[in-house]
């Protein structure tokens, strides 16, 4: 091997090579590597300087050893994730947590509601640890006899009663989105815990959670009302509230009046991102596809091998069909899926 002329080696490469040698030395050099390192050092005086500097930097980082170990001995690779990522992660955790209790509903025009069960604290201890099946199970899409559409988030349960005078849906648990078919003669009412959401030609989302219910309207208008507490009704302390498209109504057991906030389009989008939709990919890299899935599902897909990033595909998937997507990767794209936990699936290149 002939040494390259000194001037042709970019300093950047020297530093990168030096850094690599520091890591190798740290894990222990093989005999061959020791020879290579000696050769490399002899090649150019700058190599030794670069190695010393890289060594210094590597040792400097040791000052952080044990930073925040009292959190527990579990190593968190994202301990120093930039703020935005950390926040997204905690929001994600919150959504999973709520999601397991929540229920939600939608209209031919469309609306959504989130509700909490208040009267059964026992569920509180059971619900926060949903199993893998529940997390990867697809969301349910139901068309009611009147033509209204209800999308149920994972774990949501509803009870539907359609009569000549009224359409009533009880959200028993979880989150649902309601797309209400227009029928002036028969009001469409969703009961979520102690609250009532009356659709006025609407698409809306309801999430039932321990503290109350959250309602987001994406089209039309709904009326919110407390129904559960007799005392509240007697004292007239629960005025009804109206929600318009783009608004969030927060109903809380402890607070008489619904709190109404106007959301930005992005916030609305986030609130209803759980709803399955078709994801179209045209020659997209795997990382982009995983990112789209991960944004919409509690189970995170990760790539184990950077080389998998060269995989590109054109396909259409239902956003909640994580299992199907993973099976396809295993059967047709020479990958192996490792289920790390009920929240994480790691994709490897098949050996």
């Amino acid at each position: 091997m002939k040494p390259a002329p000194r001037s042709s080696v970019p300093p950047d490469d020297i530093e990168q090579t030096a850094a690599l040698w520091v890591l190798r030395r740290d894990r222990g050099l093989t005999a061959t590597e020791q020879d290579e390192l000696s050769l490399w050092l002899a090649l150019d005086a700058r190599h030794g300087e670069a190695l010393a500097s890289a060594r210094w930097g590597w040792d400097e980082l040791d000052r952080l050893t044990g930073l925040q170990t009292s959190i527990g001995a579990v190593a968190d690779p994202d301990l120093l994730a930039p703020k935005a990522t950390a926040k997204a992660a905690s929001r994600f955790r919150r959504r999973i947590f709520w999601g397991s209790f929540s229920l939600a509903a939608a209209a031919a025009v469309a609306f959504g509601i989130f509700l909490t069960r208040s009267n059964s604290p026992a569920d509180f201890t059971v619900a926060p640890t949903p199993n893998a099946v529940a997390l990867t199970a697809p969301c349910e899409h139901r068309v009611l006899e009147d033509g209204s559409i209800v999308d149920l988030n994972r774990g949501a349960r509803i009870d539907v009663q359609l009569t000549a005078h009224e359409r009533r849906v009880r959200l028993l648990e979880g989150e649902a989105n309601f797309h209400v078919a227009k029928d002036a003669a028969r009001p469409f009412v969703v009961n979520a815990g102690d609250f009532e959401v009356r659709a006025i030609g609407t698409v809306f989302n309801v999430e039932l959670h321990p503290a109350g219910a959250d309602v987001v309207v994406t089209e039309g208008r709904v009326r919110l009302q407390r129904t559960g507490s007799r005392l509240a009704r007697l004292t007239h302390e629960t005025p009804e509230a109206y929600l318009n498209a783009g608004q969030l109504g927060e109903l809380r057991q402890a607070i008489p009046a619904a709190q109404v906030n106007t959301l930005t389009p992005t916030e609305v989008e986030e609130r209803i991102a759980w709803q399955p939709r078709m994801l179209d990919f045209n020659d997209a890299p795997l990382s982009e596809i995983l990112a789209k899935f991960n944004r919409r599902n509690p189970v995170k897909l990760r790539i184990a091998d950077a080389q998998l990033n060269t995989v590109r595909l054109s396909a259409t998937f239902r956003s909640d069909n994580v299992e199907g997507f993973v099976r396809l990767m295993e059967s047709d794209f020479a990958m192996r899926a490792e289920r790390r936990s009920d929240r994480e699936i790691v994709l490897w290149r098949a050996p």
Binding site: W58, D62, R63, G66, L67, T69, D305
Partner: protein, 180 residues
């Protein structure tokens, strides 16, 4: 290269020396094949004092145990002894967990901000590798298994992370001491 002043001598006597019996017991239990434990402990102290002389250390106890583990593995390599089964999984920080300063106090200490920000500025994979290796003291092999990537990737991405950290230091006027 460094001259221990009285302040440092006191710090060493009060904070570090009392840990020696435990450190030795731990080394004996973890690395029964290790021959030169005395040298190794001295080497740990030298590293610790050198670092302490030029700046703060987040958690001296963790630093001590992680250094000891790394040095022990190195020594064993030189003794050409096969590592005992499971030796890779040594949870150093579980040992080092006692006497850890309140996390916020450490994390917010200005002294560490440059180092922390350097790691924060890294691309995700590099950041995770440097975090696991340096803050949690995991070996390359442990990091590979924790992140489900090859050891080769840990090494390559880790070296990119290191180079970028050094660039970051340089941009912020933080440089290695001049070589004699």
């Amino acid at each position: 290269m460094f001259t221990p002043d009285s302040e440092q001598a006191r710090w060493f006597a009060e904070e570090i020396l009392p840990q020696e019996p435990e450190l030795r017991a731990w080394l004996r239990a973890r690395f029964p094949m290790l021959r030169d434990a005395d040298d190794l402990v001295q080497e740990c102290y030298t590293r610790l004092l050198q670092a302490h002389a030029t700046g703060p250390i987040a958690c001296p106890r963790a630093f001590l145990f992680v250094s000891a583990r790394n040095l022990a593995l190195n020594h064993l390599r030189h003794q050409r002894i096969e590592r005992p089964e499971g030796a890779e999984e040594i949870d150093v920080l579980a040992v080092a967990d006692g006497g850890v300063p309140p996390p916020d106090a450490v994390a917010h200490a200005e002294d560490f901000q440059l180092l922390i920000r350097a790691i924060q500025s890294l691309p995700e994979r590099c950041r995770q590798i440097v975090t696991l290796r340096k803050i949690y003291g995991l070996s390359q092999k442990e990091v590979a298994s924790r992140l489900a990537i090859s050891e080769h990737t840990v090494e390559a991405q880790g070296s990119i992370g290191l180079r970028k950290c050094i660039e970051f230091f340089r941009r912020h006027g933080y440089n290695p001491p001049a070589r004699r």
